[in-house]
Symmetry: C2
Subunit: 214 residues, 2 copies
Amino acid sequence: MTSLKTPPAGSEEPTGQRLVAAARELLLRDGVSGVTMRKVATMAGVTPTSVYWHFGSREALLDQVLTALIEELPEPRARGRSPRKRMLELARELRAQVAATQPVQALALELGRAAELSFPTQVALAREVAASGLRGDDAAMVVRAILFTVGGFILLTDNFEQRVPGSETTQELWHSLGGGAVDAGLQRAMEQGVDTDVLFAFTLDKLLDGLLPD
Amino acid sequence: MTSLKTPPAGSEEPTGQRLVAAARELLLRDGVSGVTMRKVATMAGVTPTSVYWHFGSREALLDQVLTALIEELPEPRARGRSPRKRMLELARELRAQVAATQPVQALALELGRAAELSFPTQVALAREVAASGLRGDDAAMVVRAILFTVGGFILLTDNFEQRVPGSETTQELWHSLGGGAVDAGLQRAMEQGVDTDVLFAFTLDKLLDGLLPD
DNA sequence: CTCCTTCTGTAACACTGTTCCACACAAGGG
DNA sequence: CCCTTGTGTGGAACAGTGTTACAGAAGGAG
C-alpha cells in the first residue's frame, strides 16, 4: 500500500514528503504568496499534477506544512515570581515568537488556523489568572481581555510595519494637522515615532492594573 | 486639455470618472479581490488598456477609489458627560464604523493607508485625553495605548469572524483540552463562545481604569 | 495638408491554481 | 502468460490574474 513502486531515483523520501518539505522551504524563504504549485513541484523534481494527486489542492498542501510547523513551536514558559509577572512574560514571549515566525503566522491566518498558534500561551495564561485568585467567568473575561489585547497588538504592529512606501504614516498625519486642534505638547509627542516594544509593555501593564486590582 | 474629444456615446462622464465609479461599485459589492481590471473596464464600457492609460496600475486606480471613500466617512462625534465616557463612545463608534465599512477597511489595509481611516478618531481621542488632565508624552502614551487596543481588537475579531470552515475555533481547542490543566470552572467558561461586544467594552473599561487613575 | 498629442482596441506575455488525458509500471487473478 | 486494476506521473491545456507592445482613430495646431 505504502510503496508499490520503487522510489524515484535521486531521493530516498517519497514524493509526498518531498513536496511538503519543498513547500515549507518556499514558505519560510518567500512567504505564503511565494509558495507556487509549479515552484513546489519543480523543487521536488516533479510536475504540478503530482501535487494534486497527493494533496488535492494548494490549501491542503499548505495545511500539512502548517501542521508540521506548529508542532515544532516551543512550549511557552511562564517565568517570574508573581502571577502578574508571569503573565507579562508570557505575553512578551508570544509577541517575540510571532515576530520570529512571521511566515508561519501569515499562513495560519490565511488558513484560518491562527487560534492553534496562540493556544498553548492561552492555557499558560489561564493558569496564571487562576493562580492570581480569579475563578469561572470572571477569570475567563480576564484571560480573553489579555489575549485579545496581545493578539490585536501583534496584528496591528504587523500591519503598520509592512506599510506601503509613499503612503502617509500616522506621524505624518499628525504633523500636517493644523495647530490648535489639540494640546500643543500632545501633538508634538504624537508627531514622534513610537517604540512599539515600550508601548506594548506600557499598555499591558496598565491593562493588568485595571484587571487585577489588589 | 481636459476633453479634446467628444465624450463616448452612452455616458456624459469622462472615462476616468466612470472607471473610478465602476471600481468603487465592484469594491463594495465583491470586495477588494473582486475588483478586476477586466471587470472594471467592461463595466465602464472600455478595455483594460484604457485603465492603464488613465491610472497606470490597479493600485493607482484603487488609491483614487479609497481617497473618495475616505472623504465620505462621517466625522467622529464625542458624546458623553465626562472625558472618559466620551473616549469609550469614540472607541465604540470607530469599531462600529469599521464593521459597517468592511471592504473600505480591507482596501485601506492593502494599500497601507489604514492610518488615515482612524486618524479623525485619533484626534478626537487625543482631545479627550487632554481634557482629562494629561499632557505631553504621558498623554501620547495613553492615546496610543487606547488606539492600539481598539485597532487591534478590531483587526483580531475581524480575522476570527472570517474563519475558514473546518478549522478549529478557540472554543473547540479548549473543549478538547484534557481536564486538570487549568481550573475546571475557568476551562468551562473558556469553552463557551465570546460576545465580542461585551468583551470589547470590558477590556476598554479595565484599560481606562489603569490608564486614568482618579 | 501634415504633424502631434490624446485616447482606444487587439493581441499578447507571464503568471496563477487547476483539470483532462494518456501513459508507464507494479501487483494480482484467471 | 496475458490482462485487468490501481498507483503515480508528465504534457498540455483552461480560465483567470495584472500588465504591456503596438497599431490605429480622432481632433487641434502649424
